[in-house]
Symmetry: C2
Subunit: 419 residues, 2 copies
């Protein structure tokens, strides 16, 4: 990661801290994915996490809250909102803020509805979750019982405080639906600047910096940030409207071919939306990515308007039966080859009636590599209705899941560039 | 998360804290895997992490060290040992401990050897890494330039302090080879405790607690934890060997039908390993899960020994062409129906030559629901060679990605129960 050093000390940003509670994180049983998720959600709205702490369930939350209250303008706490005796985040917060706990009939009603749908009895323990510190705004929980809570910044200089549930499937939609809009308002009033995130594919972070860094740094009043992930780079611009306009002109002029979205949207979203707008249909044929490519495409709501079929052809016989790949091709060139990648894409196109088809065949590892085709070798194909098939060769020597991520990213970008 | 409250205050352990430095972690760019690695390495030698903090590169490290010095007996710091101006962990530590920086000829020699092997010139910046605070023990770095450093607990009550490099491929071997033996000596007086994690499917957290909670709490010396995720629950037992044996007997007696693994392994791993051991072959036919089921299965290394094919049949025509689902069935019952789920599983079995085939067809949402079949409705089928097909109906009303997670979890558990 690289931040424009000239802007580093120019601390016009709001101080955000995250407190994660959970003994299972400190035991190494569960990876803390909250920090990554929240940081990536906060980045596009101009907020940056300055400090994160993990404490065990129970009393340690109190000390962590006291420390963060003294430093931060925004504090996000995860976990400790459940029904058990260790879940004391609500109570500790009420005590620190000096407010009473109150029974909230709406929260209770939501809990009762949830339990009724599942034919479960509401126990006394569960009812605890309807006790809410006075003055809190309820953040509804679509996927669980305990609601999130938001306490606005108060006169006696408490920070904006968000209490969020521990399970990611409860926290994530709650954050996106209810907490982020509040944070967006806080961020825009505090820093009085706009924010724009560009997502780029097919370039590394240093290449992006090389292409636009100097021109962007020359714009007075622009705060610049880069964030690199597997196969993609985000460029974030913070500044007044006229500053952002200048930055936009630079980004578009220099980076257009690599620009996936100018709102931080994912490459699969861009690809699906473009295909739907053109009424074009898509199919995929996967070997080494094992369904990961279809999975990313179908994560986009509305994918069914363009996505017809995915063929996950792990076994050679299935490549032949489902996609019509000639056995002679498999025995002559091997399953991991330019020729088979082309035949797979063409087979998927033909058998589904799609306008575009992508294919992947490679060696995800950790075993299966050879001297000629080491672990990480992959061929990615694209077939078109009425145009010659193309195949790219890459080498992604990494762990199995990162390999799938990089191959699907590269395949989606190959399609994007051809749309 | 729930911990047995009776054991919580029994604080017989040494207080260990971890300080992770790295702006890239706080930006969500890189997942913090150090905590998980270190916690799992520390646990078997009787040490537990009580607190973990992430601070940006630069001055924030000072404040974090001061805080941890006041609380902990052992402090592990990761990152900030490199050659750039932001890497100040060494200097801040020397200042806090009140010792001078000294040039270490052995460290310099190791750096020069490393650079010579790569035909690189040793710059002044790089030479900084041979400056070592007086009194530090060098922890050699097999995979990088900057050595780790260990400062023993001193009379003026500083903790045992370990400075470790940021890149995991440098930190991990260094920790195992050099830091862990020192920590083992420090911890040698501690009671040896073990840890065992059981993964369960098909039960909620409260149901698991209802079945085993009382019996487990009755075992003296056992610390108990639950952790719930979408469609699965982990039960964690901590204690001496004889205590864990008693707990194991209880878990097996009460939870056997739901037990996915007794080492925390995933359901896809259990399913793949069982299939491979039986030399049985698997295929899947997916509609609503859009490749997510094949993706989970192929995340397991060695999946190619059992997994033959996945058919992601989003469009009705593809259900007919690729799986032989009768158009009459689709028009009479609809694509989301018990009948089509059965036909999809049977088609996947037949077209791939597998022994088992799973199918999914449902409404992931957010659109596409009806009064009769609301968003979240799903039919999950399993077809066998030589036995009648089974279909289950479920309702998972949640967001699109959690829906996929719950459906694939339920499908994998349906297969597990049939193996």
């Amino acid at each position: 990661m690289l931040l424009c050093p000239a802007r580093r000390d120019n601390k016009e940003s709001v101080n955000v801290e995250i407190i994660n509670t959970g003994t299972e994180i400190l035991l190494g049983n569960v990876l803390n994915t909250h920090l990554g998720f929240l940081a990536q959600e906060l980045f596009p709205i101009g907020l940056r996490v300055q400090r994160q702490v993990t404490v065990p369930d129970g009393d340690a939350i109190r000390e962590a809250l006291v420390e963060s209250f003294a430093r931060a303008e925004i504090v996000l706490v995860t976990g400790g909102l459940g029904p058990t005796t260790d879940d004391i985040t609500r109570e500790v917060t009420a005590e620190l803020l000096g407010v009473e706990m109150e029974f909230d009939a709406d929260v209770m009603h939501a809990i009762e509805l949830r339990f009724a749908r599942r034919n479960l009895a509401v126990t006394e323990r569960v009812k605890r979750q309807a006790q809410v510190p006075r003055g809190a705004t309820i953040l509804p929980n679509r996927n669980g019982t305990a609601p999130g809570l938001y306490f606005p910044q108060s006169e006696n200089r408490n920070p904006h405080l968000f209490l969020l549930p521990g399970p990611p499937r409860e926290l994530r939609p709650m954050f996106t639906d209810s907490a982020r809009p509040i944070l967006q308002k806080i961020a825009s009033s505090e820093i009085a600047v706009g924010c724009r995130s560009y997502r780029l594919a097919g370039l590394g972070e240093s290449q992006v910096e090389h292409l636009v860094g100097e021109a962007l740094l020359a714009i007075p009043g622009l705060e610049l940030g880069y964030c690199a992930r597997a196969g993609e780079v985000d460029v974030r611009c913070l500044g007044a409207a006229d500053v952002l306009e200048k930055a936009h002109a630079v980004v578009v002029a220099k980076l257009q071919p690599y620009l996936v979205s100018d709102d931080g949207g994912s490459i699969e979203q861009t690809v699906v939306e473009t295909l739907v707008a053109r009424r074009a249909k898509l199919a995929v044929a996967e070997s080494c990515t094992g369904g990961a490519l279809a999975n990313r495409i179908t994560n986009v709501s509305g994918a069914s308007k363009t996505f017809l079929a995915g063929f996950v052809t792990y076994a050679n016989e299935v490549k032949t039966n489902a996609l019509g790949v000639e056995p002679a091709l498999l025995s002559e060139y091997g399953a991991v080859s330019r020729e088979v990648a082309a035949a797979m894409a063409e087979g998927a196109l033909k058998n589904s009636g799609a306008d575009f088809a992508l294919s992947t065949t490679g060696i995800a590892g950790p075993t299966g590599g050879t001297a000629e085709k080491p672990v990480g070798t992959v061929f990615i194909g694209i077939a078109f209705k009425g145009a010659p098939t193309e195949v790219e060769q890459h080498l992604f020597a990494t762990d199995r899941e990162t390999f799938k991520q990089l191959v699907t990213q590269t395949a989606l970008d190959l399609l994007r560039r051809n749309l």
